[in-house]
């Protein structure tokens, strides 16, 4: 029944996509009724462009801009990321719940997260919680499968299977304003309050700074429906509160020689309850987490000539977490884990374009990561990573050929106990993009990339389960895609279609395996992933003052456990990977009130490696509606927004027994000077 309902949901996505195509066809025939004089009338500019997509890139790249996030009423960066083709966001529910991004079935550890160009690292967990970043300051969120198209980058950003890049913006860039002041207040269901301020100031012709402060609190006590066999009960999520704040300062400096220096200092602090999975017949939940994170990062970019450009980056990161659980089963009735991580990071890159069409770049990174904790058998590990990436790209007439070779050297050190082996790898990547008809924006792209993820500190050193003998987990990615951008008829401002088919292979997977009484992290298992990602975006002028932007995404993914033929899980879909997923979004801009509506569709998944009916987690459709209006006053502008998330009040889980909130409301007031 469920399966059917979901398929039906799918049908509508297909219809939606067809509809977009249909429109364009209709307008083609409708050209007569379009008189050129309309062009002179006041027209609405559709700022709700979903993305400035790079269709000529040899790797699948998708961007969501802040205006799209706003107009569609997206609730967080995780909410935005899950709408990108091929992305699976693991969301443990609530504002404070862990949210990680994985791309094309590869596991979150294979996705690098960049914040203003510099990688965010967490050597202990190996994966990044993007719930920790606030969408307010983020101007664009870009996912690149493989690697980013830009050749002048840190070596690190070439070393992952996917890159999720968060970019903030200098608010005064491209304006002649001397300053900008912005105050924003968000409030919503379950006690959510999120005030924020931004002050950007020009000091002199070449220097700008900005200061941001942002605070979020929520009690997180949302109701949910618990289905236990035939028993259905209304429950409430407890110990799901969160209180966090951060402050960020940016200094943007332009020098006379055209070079730029951007420096960022950031501090984040939070306390939250970890509600854990819902346990039948037992409401006890006492786990809490405290987080403190400070970092300073700087980036210098300079062009020496037409042929030479360089970039240097540096970062220092300090993060501290305290986890506490209260239960009589622990000695002293409490378990307290305190972890301290530090990172020192330097990167330098140079780009050389000796002749027209040929670009060569070389990036070198060095990083030192340390971990200290309060465990009795704390090994105090530290890791030195040396990365070097050599890139070459040749663009000639209708094709572009790129190759990358990344060398990784990881030196592992411990103050006591077993020392893991050092790791040395060479990882190649090749890609080809071609445009067979230069008059037409139709591109074909092919990519092969080899990557790996090194075991995290937890994988190697965590109490009892850690295994210092772990090897990296390997991934191989193949992609073939077509992109097409067109502005075929007047009513269609733009239309873009991308379709990619891929095959990924993961082996030597790092997993926890049981013995009779203890578990240990091991390299075990292989997963084969085949999939298709399709996206369609178009912008249409429905009427002279009404702009419409429509987008649709569909992803098909078969991620099969190929580990052992005799196993009961052989060729079963790996956990939490829907076969079908996608979304449809529509934005209507008009002089009265802007409307954003979207639906995210996720198919059936399994919560365990064995695909049995007991392990089935049903698919869901989640609808979001957002209304917004900006009033331009003399000295300032005021923006009002109201959102309803999960409009149909659907009860669903992303992770089984971590129920997601039902229908929730949010209001935003923003004043900008």
């Amino acid at each position: 029944m469920k399966q059917f309902a979901f398929r039906r949901g799918w049908l509508f996505v297909v219809i939606g996509v067809c509809c977009t195509l249909y429109t364009t066809v209709v307008y083609a025939n409708d050209a007569d009724s379009v008189s050129s004089r309309i062009r002179n009338l006041k027209r609405v500019t559709v700022s709700a462009e979903r993305a400035t997509q790079n269709i000529s890139a040899p790797m699948p790249t998708q961007t969501i801009t802040s205006s799209t996030m706003q107009n569609l009423g997206m609730q967080s960066l995780a909410d935005a990321a899950r709408r990108l083709p091929g992305v699976t966001v693991k969301d443990y529910g609530g504002l404070g719940g862990l949210k990680t991004v994985s791309v094309r079935g590869l596991g979150a550890e294979h996705t690098a997260v960049l914040y203003d160009g510099v990688m965010v690292s967490n050597c202990q967990a190996g994966q990044i919680d993007i719930g920790r970043f606030n969408m307010d300051d983020v101007e664009t969120l870009t996912l690149s499968v493989g690697q980013q198209n830009d050749l002048l980058q840190s070596a690190r950003s070439y070393a992952s299977a996917g890159v999720l890049s968060l970019k903030t913006k200098n608010p005064l860039e491209g304006t002649d304003k001397p300053f900008e002041l912005k105050a924003r207040m968000k409030g919503g269901s379950y006690g959510m309050i999120n005030p924020s301020v931004l002050w950007a100031q020009r000091i002199g012709a070449t220097t700008t700074f900005s200061l941001t402060g942002n605070m979020t609190r929520a009690d997180g006590q949302y109701p949910f429906t618990l289905v236990n066999g035939k028993r259905i009960s209304e429950e409430k999520r407890y110990n799901s509160d969160v209180m966090s704040w951060y402050a960020e300062g940016n200094l943007y400096q332009k020098f006379k020689d055209g070079s730029r220096l951007n420096t960022k200092i950031h501090y984040y602090d939070s306390e939250r309850g970890l509600p854990g999975s819902v346990i039948l017949y037992n409401n006890m939940s006492n786990e809490r987490l405290w987080d403190k994170n400070a970092f300073v990062q700087t980036r210098y970019q300079k062009a020496f000539s037409e042929k030479w450009r360089i970039q240097a980056e540096g970062k220092y990161n300090y993060s501290w977490t305290k986890y506490e659980d209260t239960n009589v089963k622990y000695q002293g009735g409490k378990k307290t884990d305190v972890n301290k991580q530090q990172e020192y990071y330097l990167s330098a890159a140079a780009l050389w374009m000796p002749i027209d069409g040929l670009s060569v770049s070389w990036s070198n990174d060095a990083a030192l990561n340390t971990l200290q904790n309060n465990f009795p058998e704390n090994q105090e590990p530290y890791r030195l990573t040396w990365l070097s990436a050599l890139n070459a790209r040749w663009k000639w007439k209708w094709f572009m050929l790129s190759g990358t070779l990344v060398s990784t050297v990881v030196d592992e050190h411990v103050k006591s106990g077993n020392k893991p082996a050092d790791k040395r790898r060479l990882s190649p990547c090749f890609s080809l993009a071609c445009q067979p008809f230069l008059s037409n924006d139709l591109f074909f792209r092919v990519m092969y990339k080899e990557t790996f993820r090194v075991p995290s500190f937890n994988d190697m050193y965590y109490e009892q389960t850690g295994n210092t003998a772990l090897r990296p987990e390997n991934a191989h990615e193949y992609n073939f895609g077509i992109t097409w951008k067109s502005k075929p008829w007047r009513f269609v401002e733009s239309m873009m279609l991308t379709a990619d088919a891929y095959y990924n292979k993961v082996d030597d997977k790092i997993v926890a395996l049981p013995s009779m009484y203890v578990w240990r992290m091991m390299n075990y298992g292989r997963v084969d992933i085949t999939g298709v990602d399709i996206s369609l975006q178009s912008r249409i002028n429905v009427a002279d003052i009404v702009g419409l932007s429509l987008s649709g995404v569909y992803s098909l993914q078969r991620a099969l456990d190929m580990t052992e033929q005799s196993s009961k899980t052989y060729k079963h879909q790996i956990p939490y990977t829907p076969k079908h997923s996608g979304n449809v979004a529509i934005q209507v801009e008009n002089p009265w009130v802007n409307i954003g509506y979207s639906v995210v569709l996720v198919g059936d998944r399994y919560c365990m490696r064995q695909n049995t009916s007991a392990n089935l987690v049903h698919g869901y459709n989640e609808h979001t509606l957002s209304l917004s209006k900006t009033f331009d006053l003399k000295r300032c502008s005021i923006r009002l927004q109201a959102d309803v998330a999960n409009l149909t009040d659907t009860q669903y889980d992303v992770i089984k027994y971590y129920p997601m909130p039902g229908r929730s409301y949010r209001g935003i007031v923003e004043v900008k000077f």
Binding site: F12, C19, D30, Y281, V328, Y517, R520, K568, V584, T650
Partner: protein
């Protein structure tokens, strides 16, 4: 312009329809119903507890009948608890016992003790609060149920009224418990740090003495008037899984051999030692028997014709039917539903059943 309107209309329809495509959830049952059980003679019902996975609410009970099927063949019914009660058993089923014709299950994650009739129909439950701690293992004697609680207690519960009557403090994180000649013997694991066994006098319900045993004692059984304690045998990482024999009469304690699981039938203790080599992730099982009368320890495989899965995976359960000596054995990989094997007392494999859940951990005989 007409076409434009048509398009808008279509658009409205599409988005309108998406709204209606919400999920309908009508999960059917996933196994046999109550009638199947009730048609089987109570003395022919064998219940198997599936522990499930930590924090996954997927523990359950399967039923097996050695000759309750058509023409006297065996019958296996999955998930009888869910089918009989229309609700799940809860999170992490730790132990299951039968006493005076009823079944009792301790569900650790759910912090719950469940009383069922001999067809797995729920009769009553008891919850334990944060200070008492979560329930672990069960023992029963003369109409009283005894349960170890992670707060460091053994609770006495009246089987009839299913009310808590008393609690006695033992060591920290008590695990296995067994009754023998008017005493209760309790393993105090301390979650790896304790190394004692508490001896409780049932009549006075007080701790009579505390015996030092190997580190991190876990499972405990009684046979031939002796107590057999399986323990981790050391602190991490120096585990030395072993079985010790305690003689209540003399107070002597003796290490017998390496062991990860124990069972007893008559005067013989059946021992299995599952050893995992982490460099290759292969597990080997060493089987041995200890004859209490002759004090003879023999390394011998008492299970013949072992399927490949059994010989190369850790043995998660070994229980013996007290009426005929049949072995019920399971293996577990924590990712898929378990398999339960039944061997005749002479070691011949008779049956292999695919469980209704993960980690089959305890077999209970109602005869």
């Amino acid at each position: 312009m007409k076409r434009k309107n048509l398009f808008l209309l279509m658009l409205c329809m599409v988005f309108g329809l998406v709204f209606t495509s919400c999920d309908e959830n009508n999960d059917g049952d996933n196994g046999g119903g109550g009638n199947v059980i009730e048609n089987i003679d109570p003395s022919d019902r064998v219940f198997i507890l599936n522990e499930g996975n930590y924090n996954s609410n997927n523990s359950g009970i399967d039923m097996y009948s050695p000759c309750g099927g058509a023409d006297g063949t065996s019958l296996f019914v999955k998930n009888v608890y869910m089918n009989q009660n229309g609700e799940g058993l809860g999170d992490t089923g730790q132990d299951l016992i039968s006493h005076d014709g009823n079944l009792y299950a301790s569900i650790t994650g759910s912090s719950l003790l469940v009383k069922m009739d001999n067809a797995a129909k729920k009769l009553a439950t008891i919850s334990f609060d944060a200070s008492e701690g979560q329930p672990r293992y069960l023992a029963a004697k003369n109409g009283k149920i005894y349960v170890t609680l992670y707060g460091g207690y053994v609770a006495k519960i009246d089987a009839g009224s299913f009310q808590k009557e008393a609690m006695v403090q033992v060591g920290s994180n008590p695990e296995g418990i067994v009754e023998c000649n008017g005493k209760l013997y309790v393993c105090n694991s301390g979650w790896g740090y304790d190394n004692t066994m508490s001896v409780i006098d049932i009549a006075t319900f007080t701790v009579e003495k505390t015996v030092e045993v190997a580190t991190n004692p876990n499972e405990i059984i009684a046979a031939g008037g002796k107590i057999f304690i399986q323990s981790y045998g050391g602190a991490y990482p120096d585990y030395d899984y072993q079985v010790q024999m305690y003689d209540p009469a003399s107070g002597s304690l003796e290490r017998l051999t390496a062991a990860t699981k124990l069972a007893a039938y008559g005067d013989v203790v059946y021992i299995v030692y599952s050893d995992t080599d982490w460099t290759t992730y292969t597990t080997t099982n060493v089987f041995s028997t200890y004859n209490i009368k002759t004090r003879e320890l023999k390394t011998e495989n008492y299970l013949k014709d072992m399927p490949a899965q059994l010989s190369s995976n850790g043995i998660y359960m070994i229980d013996i039917d007290p009426s005929n000596g049949d072995f019920y054995v399971s293996v577990s990989d924590y990712v898929s539903d378990g398999t339960v094997y039944r061997f005749e007392s002479d070691g011949d494999l008779i049956d292999a059943m695919l469980s209704g859940g993960m980690n089959p951990t305890k077999t209970v005989f109602t005869n």
